[in-house]
Point group: C2
Chain length 235, copies 2
DNA sequence: CCCTTATGCCAACAGGGTTGACCTTATCTT
DNA sequence: AAGATAAGGTCAACCCTGTTGGCATAAGGG
């Protein structure tokens, strides 16, 4: 069994599994993402992942110390995809907006995986790369370091926090999600104006807005705040 | 076993358990919060909760359809505590700030429970009461309904999202959390300036700020944004 | 071409949610 | 007051989970 987990770089012999597939961290993580999508955020089990790979569950422990370490590897993969899908232009506002949406988008592209990993800080290389990029944008725009660090902090936490929250509803089975969204058109819309005047007065607006994410609005607030703190004029 | 879960209000006979305690939804939820605090966010199990109540695990299914429904009841309890700890003053800005901190605070008072429930929308009475209160503040301040609904949405999602995120680190065992916070003084602080110039330049500031929550800063951004959209002057 | 050992497989363990059958006792009816 | 009813407790069992010790086998260095 797995006394030492051999780091990916040091692997020399790759013996094919019973069904012929040759394993690697990359293949395992990719397959885990697929299993998550198909079976939900609680559906990633060692046995199921093993079956999807055509391998025994215990084989996974040759690559990851446990399901927890696999989970962190999945999170780092999402961060990597976010960074890969982003390109800097030099315009701090456009860049920060794009990076925020890239992170948010990479996580929401795999809602079940996002739910599992968004609240974890891995400290892995690709996560660090994202942090460096954000700080680079803010300092490059001319923010004083203390302000840059404060905005960086709000930015990364906000992006991950909303990703996790929104992944929660997106990861629901289609019918359950529809039911949730209908709640704004039924349960909330039917509250009597005597007991709940404000909900009753805005029921139609709520039903239209609540099924969407609040992340874009929150992101714009952050950009607005940042622009107001730049020493030189924005444009 | 539990074909029908009898609603709390309709309960008539309360037979004491083997150890003499008389059960109720309230006692079960309170005990669940205690078990969560003592055993962590993944430590709430039917068997353990049963033991803590001095009852058979299967008894829980007389009160809740499953662990999932119990989880939602715990979430609603936190919402109720948030609302109870809050009092309106009539000053929209102070009220909204206080309500945000009340929600955030109620969840973080039970980080293990917050982790479990923050991303769940229960649609239960006390959650609805909070929604009504928020909308009341915003509409009372004079915001047009579409703006009020937009700000409401950002406000509630932001509060819950940050609560969940921060609960994640707070719920870690003390030593694990210390290790995480130290990472900003060690791993990040040691990154070479050649490869990570921006992190290296702000390492000291990061080490000081990152162990704290970004929620207060994000909340102020939202208040700032809201104030700028009021028809009449703020004060 | 053989030997070593990395890497895959098998079987088993403890602990998880959940359920069907059963029993006991609180409350209602007469 | 006694008896009937069924709510609400208990018990044992189901299948699932992560994880591990021992074993087998084939990849690749010498």
């Amino acid at each position: 069994m797995a006394k030492h987990v051999v780091p990916e770089a040091a692997r020399r012999r790759r013996r094919p599994t019973r069904t012929g597939t040759v394993l690697s961290e990359e293949i395992i993580v990719d397959t885990a993402l697929r299993v998550l999508r198909e079976h939900g955020s609680t559906g990633l089990t060692a046995r199921r992942l093993g079956a999807a790979l055509g391998a025994d569950p215990s084989t996974l422990y040759r690559y990851f110390a446990g399901m927890d370490e696999l989970t962190r590897a999945i999170g780092d993969e999402l961060m990597g995809r976010a960074l890969d899908s982003w390109t800097a232009t030099g315009d701090w506002r456009a860049d920060l907006r794009a990076l925020g949406r890239a992170i948010y988008g990479a996580y929401l592209a795999h809602p079940q995986a996002a739910l599992l990993t968004a609240s974890r800080v891995t400290g892995r290389p690709r996560e660090i790369a994202v942090d460096e990029a954000i700080l680079g944008i803010l300092r490059g725009a001319g923010l004083p370091d203390p302000v840059a660090v404060r905005v960086y902090h709000a930015f990364i936490d906000q992006s991950l926090a909303f990703a996790a929250l929104d992944a929660g509803s997106l990861a629901l089975a289609a019918e359950a999600r529809a039911q949730d969204e209908e709640m704004w058109q039924t349960a909330y819309a039917r509250l009597p104006a005597e007991s709940h005047p404000h909900i009753a007065a805005t029921a139609a607006l709520l039903a239209r807005r609540m099924p969407h994410s609040a992340y874009p609005a929150a992101l714009e607030m952050l950009l607005e705040h940042t622009a107001a703190r730049l020493p030189a004029p924005d444009a």
